[in-house]
Amino acid sequence: MERFVFDSKIKNVLFGFMGLGVLCLAITFFIDDELHTRFWTNFLHNSVFFTGIAFISLFILSAFITAWAGWYALIKRIWEAYSLFLIPGLVLMLIVVIGLWGGFHHLYHWADAEAVAEDSILLGKKGFLNKGWYTVGTLIIVGIWIFFATKLRQLSLREDENQGMNFAVHRQMRVWAAAFLPIAGFSSAAIIWQWVMSVDAHWYSTLFAWYTGASWFVSAMTLTIMTLILLKNLGYFAKVTPEHLRDLGKYTFAFSIFWTYLWFSQYMLIWYGNVGEETIYFRERLDNYPVLFFGNLVLNFVLPFFILIREDNIRKYGTMMFASAFVFIGHWIDFFLMIKPGALHTAHETLAHHGATAEAAEHAAEAGHHAASTFEIGFTVPGFLEFGTMLGFLALFLFVVFRNMAKAPLDAVNDPYYAESLQHHA
């Protein structure tokens, strides 16, 4: 049976990129302001992004198993391997947690006890936005996700050893998958509020969790397309045809539109309502991040819409690779926009509060009137260090994925839908 061989050539490339990532993180750390805001925002940004992709892969698997989908059986090992990145993902997020307790970073305004004490809004949210809940939420929620990921993987591997037409294992998988769906829905929302939305601690939007989840979904799909094409070029997944590619493209297309729908719904209601506490979120981004703000829409809506709408494009490996790469970067930038402005604002305020050094006083003066209104690489646009860090995290992600992929046969021949997947015709 065909197995993925994680040879030293691929390993060396991945190690190279991981080295680049570590180097970029180190450089960022040393050229940073005294709170290391740029370093920590980059760390949080990429950790959340890739952990989210792992979570969404598990969600996709569960949804497909529950829906009795057949076409994905050929490529389900990719998503199984993706979902196992949740374990390193938890470690990455625990580093953020440790930084929270140790006071190493000032990503979250609500973590600053002095600021909370004199801020009625933060006081009101204290019951949820506090270090304890952040830690417990991260541990329990990602813990549950890891449990389901390993459970589904275990059952899927047990299915491989199954002989004959025995669907007992698959029935078990169906129960676990169905049980995970509601858990995934509620828990992902809670974790997104804590990890991402609370960066802008004063602000909230009820749509935010869905919007972020949709962003994760498209990122996971585009990354799947790129990994699949890469593996196909290496000679694996020979049975995967443009028909399967079309289904992956269809999901990318559909969820790009879904993302745009949520993005616009959030934007338009806030724009129309015109309530100061809410509009500040978009005011900040429109004033200081206009290129990214509109670029985000172009990369994540206009580009996939016009490329993937055509039936012939969606079946071509080259076109799909190109479109996926751009949309993937687009959603990475989307997360950049979610995290950077709020964290920078918090950093400025913290520096103004505890402003002792000369540099801090400078920052404080800036923060007084229009925080973050100046052009700053690493904050208002991603610089080379940000992209380097992203490549490092991507290499880590792929390293974990390939390692897990090499542990099992690539073809889940005993999956009841394997035959259906083989002759899939979209």
């Binding site: 616009f264 934007y267 338009m268 724009w271 129309y272 015109n274």
Partner: protein
């Protein structure tokens, strides 16, 4: 399909797999198939029959684009020229507020346009005459039809031997 007094020789098959094999066989034998009927879309039939992709989606895209333009321009005209009203302190030309209407009209134009185009292309709709070869084609039978109006006896026997060779459960003739 118009009523053209065509004499149609058709064979009924019980299963889509048999139908697919028969159609490939007919193509290999260079038999001129008039049409194939099935109760549901049969996967893989179009490429064997050599049918090109439908251009209906392209038409749909054009209708949608027209709808989007209509919606956006109409809203712009209403709120800047015809009946300017200030809502919530927003400027007259407020693009975000026009997007929902633009979206709705895009969907409306695309869907209605595609339905009517489809009806016209297929000759369907009120008053259309739809000759049916066999009622069971809409239920559980698969049909391959040959135009036998001008076929010689030799050709007809060739068709018939084709039907018996490929496992047709029934062979009939009907003038439509």
């Amino acid at each position: 399909m118009e009523n053209s007094n065509k004499e149609v020789l058709f064979g009924l098959y019980d299963d889509e797999e048999i139908l697919l094999k028969a159609v490939s066989q007919a193509k290999a034998d260079h038999l001129n198939i008039m049409d194939v009927f099935s109760p549901f879309p049969v996967h893989g039939l179009d490429p064997i029959l050599g049918l090109s992709h439908s251009r209906l989606p392209t038409a749909g895209f054009i209708y949608g684009a027209i709808g989007a333009l209509t919606g956006f321009l109409f809203m712009t005209w209403v709120f800047t020229a015809d009946w300017p009203i200030i809502f919530g302190g927003k400027p007259y030309f407020s693009a975000p507020a026009f997007i929902p209407i633009t979206f709705e009209l895009t969907v409306l134009f695309a869907s209605v346009g595609m339905v009517f185009t489809f009806f016209i292309i297929c000759g369907m709709g009120p008053g259309a005459v739809n000759p049916i070869l066999d009622l069971r084609i809409t239920d559980d039978k698969f049909c391959i039809a040959f135009d036998a109006s001008h076929a010689s006896d030799e050709e007809v026997s060739k068709y018939k031997s084709f039907f018996s060779a490929t496992g047709a459960s029934e062979v009939n003739t009907k003038t439509i």
